[in-house]
């Protein structure tokens, strides 16, 4: 187990800089999620930490030790790849025990550690199969198993759930969370899915175009986004971002109102809107409406409601929850 520190890390491929001045401290045992849109540099950052790519500039400290030049093995980190990257010609047991067999550990010890990990991940029945004979979810478990067998200082996971179907994704998400509770090893988890980030992370690092936008607990990011980008990225459905006259009313270039902070009212409404779509999810109802001079807005209502498309409704916002942003995307306070 170890803490990590990234100091002014940047990465260039040839002339293109894909990561700019990344500064980050990760505590021992923390579950950190890197989240951001596709192509923002999440995987690159993870690969720098893993030692698969060379750091162009800056320092990486693992357990207080500068590790820029250490090989992946010397860093003693484990990684789960998006494609799982299981060795196709080896059985599940051989895949999981590969790193130990490279260290020439005794067969009995390897067997025991593989069995332990297999029990944790409910893989006992599959140990003699080849990866080609497994389902996507099972392969994913084997990939995690291969990582935990080594008892590494840090786990790196690059979008480990993106190849699973939705139901399995939710299930595995919970299992990874429980695994972290049990192992208490530092985990860095990469995803483009903000729901995964919000549900799993101790702290989230939001990346955009190779820069850190904000670092914080899920609730910090939700309640006090440091930029307009964070505000729009965190939360589902997305925050309503309104510009123009409606924003000027509040002395801001842009105002942001989360759908759950808008309400449909009959008395003294702030805006009038025309409903364009209603999504009924049972535990909540999402209403899409068109407001003159404001544009399209999304309203998330708790419970079940009988609003109809084409209906004109009054809208009101919880004023204490409005986010105001300057022209540069910074929040106004």
């Amino acid at each position: 187990m170890a803490d990590l520190e990234l100091r002014n890390i940047s990465k260039s491929y040839g002339a293109t800089k894909v990561l700019h001045d990344i500064n980050l401290k990760i505590d021992d045992g923390e579950f950190i999620v890197f989240v951001g849109p596709s192509g923002c540099g999440k995987s690159t950052l993870l690969r720098l930490i893993a030692g698969l790519d060379e750091i162009t500039d800056g320092d990486l400290l693992i357990g207080g030790e500068r590790s820029n030049k250490l090989s992946p093995k010397q860093r003693n980190i484990a990684m789960v790849f998006q494609s799982y990257a299981l060795y196709p010609q080896m059985t599940v047991a051989e895949n999981m025990g590969f790193s130990l067999s490279l260290e020439r550990r005794p067969k009995a010890e390897i067997r025991q550690k593989v069995d332990e990990a297999a029990a944790t991940l409910k893989l006992e029945a599959l140990l003699d199969r080849k990866p080609g004979q497994l389902s996507g979810g099972q392969r994913q478990r084997v990939a995690i198993g291969r990582a935990i067998v080594r008892n590494p200082r840090v786990f790196l996971l690059d979008e480990p759930l993106s190849n699973l179907d939705a139901a399995l994704r939710t299930e595995t998400r919970v299992e990874i969370g429980e695994l972290h509770q049990r192992l208490k090893t530092t985990m860095i988890y990469v995803t483009h899915d903000q729901v995964e980030a919000m549900t799993m992370a101790d702290r989230i690092v939001i990346l955009n175009a190779g820069r850190i936008e904000q670092v914080g607990t899920p609730m910090e990011l939700y309640n006090t986004p440091a930029t307009e980008f964070v505000a729009s990225f965190i939360g589902s459905p997305k925050m309503n971002l309104i510009t123009g006259k409606a924003a000027q009313e509040y002395d801001a270039a842009t105002i942001g109102i989360r759908p759950e902070h808008l309400d449909i009212v009959t008395e003294s409404p702030h805006w009038q809107g025309l409903i364009t779509l209603v999504e009924r999810l049972g535990h909540n109802t999402i209403v899409y409406a068109q407001v003159p001079d404001v544009g399209p807005v999304t309203i998330s209502l708790e419970g079940q409601h009988e609003y109809q498309v084409g209906q004109n409704v009054g809208l009101d916002a919880d004023l204490s929850k409005i986010h105001r942003f300057a022209r540069d995307g910074r929040p106004l306070v």
């Binding site: 030692g51 093995k73 790849f81 990257a85 490279l102």
Partner: protein
């Protein structure tokens, strides 16, 4: 229906034309002397192995066969190791001079043997390897290496990079990755390389004629040519020698046929 018949007819004709010489050679090699006056396309009425015995012992084909199989087997095995390791470095590692090396291999791919045969001969002679198996083996490997490096490279690039990276994370050295991750998934490329190099080496005449002129060192190709020159009337003996030379290659090809085709097309379709 009629058009299918025509196609069938054409294919059958081509198949016949292509197999006829082999069949006639085989027939001739098995015929007892009294049947040899019959036309070549008549199958032997009774079978004899006397021609095979004759060329094998008196004709020296036993020696030729051993020479050939030694050179071809060493060629094939060493080529698999050499070409795959070179390709591994080219695909998975970064090092200074990689581009220059790639250019050299492409150049090597384009130069025909005949164009450099003389300098090759003088080089081999200057290091004293004329009439040694080693000299031919060196020449074979050097000349064919670009082709197989290219083949292994195109196979290796179809291996997901993440596999290589996962092995690095697992703590494998480059050689361990090569040996335990990359090579086990490259069986089709290995078989294709081994087979092709074996066949080329087996059938090559030019280099062997030049580098192994001494009687005791001859390979089947040189031996057969020589035999033809000296025993122009011994059609049955020449046929038997030809069959001896053809059998191993045919057997190998039949045995590995499916792998062979897969190796040739791998990377192209994946």
């Amino acid at each position: 229906m009629a058009s299918r018949l025509i196609v069938f007819g054409i294919l059958a004709l081509i198949a016949f034309l292509m197999t006829a010489p082999s069949a006639m050679t085989l027939f001739t090699s098995l015929k007892p002397p009294e049947e040899l006056i019959l036309p070549a396309w008549t199958p032997p009425a009774s079978i004899t192995f006397e021609h095979f015995e004759r060329v094998w012992t008196d004709g020296g084909f036993r020696r030729y066969f051993l020479n050939t199989i030694l050179i071809s087997a060493v060629d094939a095995i060493v080529m698999i190791g050499l070409a795959s390791m070179t390709a591994y470095a080219m695909v998975f590692m970064s090092f200074r001079g990689k581009l220059a090396l790639q250019v050299l291999f492409v150049v090597g791919l384009m130069i025909p043997v005949t164009a450099i045969i003389l300098p090759l001969y003088t080089t081999i002679r200057s290091v004293g390897l004329i009439n040694t198996h080693l000299g031919v083996i060196f020449a074979d490997l050097a000349l064919a290496m670009p082709v197989f490096v290219f083949m292994f490279s195109s196979y290796f690039v179809s291996i997901p990079r993440a596999l290589h990276e996962a092995a690095r994370i697992d703590g494998a050295t480059e050689f361990q990755i090569y040996r335990r991750v990359v090579m086990p998934v490259s069986v089709p490329a290995i078989i294709t390389t081994g087979l092709l190099e074996f066949m080329w080496s087996w059938n090559d005449l030019l280099l062997r004629l030049l580098l192994l002129p001494r009687e005791g060192m001859r390979t089947l190709s040189v031996g057969l040519l020589n035999f033809q020159g000296q025993q122009t009337r011994d059609i049955a003996g020449i046929s038997a020698g030809t069959v001896i030379m053809a059998i191993p290659v045919v057997l190998l090809f039949l045995f590995f046929q499916r792998h062979f085709v897969r190796g040739m097309t791998a990377g192209a379709v994946k």
